[in-house]
Symmetry: C2
């Protein structure tokens, strides 16, 4: 089963682990993305995430499907927190279960790379001096979109290549 | 900081995540090994782990050191549960934090492969028909040790090669 969500609440790793846990699996691999206190030499007080909610969930489900085409995994959870995420707290938790460990370990790495590349989430970094900056993911395939602030050139490195047939920029219109 | 332990209590993924969480890190990667309900066609009721406790912790610390020689990671936790571990529950949790995700994702895969290869832990599988079997890890470098039941031939595949200079069978004597 695939569990994807975009939520305002604090993410609980235990609960998300339980979501993917099943009797037939011997392995659960997880990735937890957290807010760092520094970014390029500036002290970060907190991050604030915004998402194009329905499209984010659609893209997350496509990531799940792409995982299932590559690996024999049982359950997948991709949960993104939005709103304010203080330093040390999690903005995203990905959990994948599989009978044996190789599949979930490889799949979770692909999952976070691909989520960063294709899921429409933006973040605002607020610094110690009360300045802030809206950021897109540097790796993102759609970061050349002029409608978003601080747009960056399209990155065609590995994460996008994984899924180039599934996630075109057109899908995001 | 390195946290290694061998415990009887149920493992809590949230608590182990907190152990490695730090303000300077944006990534925590985890592996959770759980009890499966079937092994080679036989229904498993539960597993029971035993460890050569002090040596297991020593070997886990060596795995931490090997990780640090390969990747720039912040905190590492390797916690193994022993005693009875029912189906679906975790026998091991490994959590690693790093500033960026690549390091912790790669390190956690190496960590579980290497722990399986070098840490002296045995497991007893109890089946539905009340038969049981003591098992060593098939991947284990020291599984040729005749002093243990059901010994298997020494496996010299990748996980052992990672650490061949660090973990010789002699270290376990």
């Amino acid at each position: 089963m695939d569990h994807v969500d975009v939520v305002f609440d604090k993410l609980k790793v235990d609960e998300i682990t339980d979501l993917v846990s099943t009797e037939s699996c011997g392995a659960i691999s997880l990735f937890v993305g957290t807010t760092r206190d520094y970014f390029e030499g500036k002290r970060v007080l907190y991050l604030e995430y915004e998402a194009y909610d329905s499209m984010a969930k659609k893209k997350m489900l496509e990531v799940c499907q792409a995982i299932r085409e590559k690996w024999d995994v049982q359950n997948i959870a991709i949960i993104h927190r939005i709103g304010v995420v203080p330093v040390k707290e999690a903005s995203i938790v990905i959990a994948i279960s599989s009978a044996h460990r190789k599949e979930s370990l490889e799949a979770v790495q692909f999952a976070i790379d691909t989520v960063k590349a294709v899921v429409p989430v933006w973040k605002k970094e607020t610094y110690e001096d009360n300045t802030y900056s809206w950021k897109q993911n540097k790796e993102c395939c759609w970061s050349g979109d002029a409608s978003t602030p601080d747009s960056q050139s399209v990155n065609t490195s590995a994460p996008c290549n994984h899924t180039v047939n599934i996630y075109s920029n057109r899908d995001l219109l």
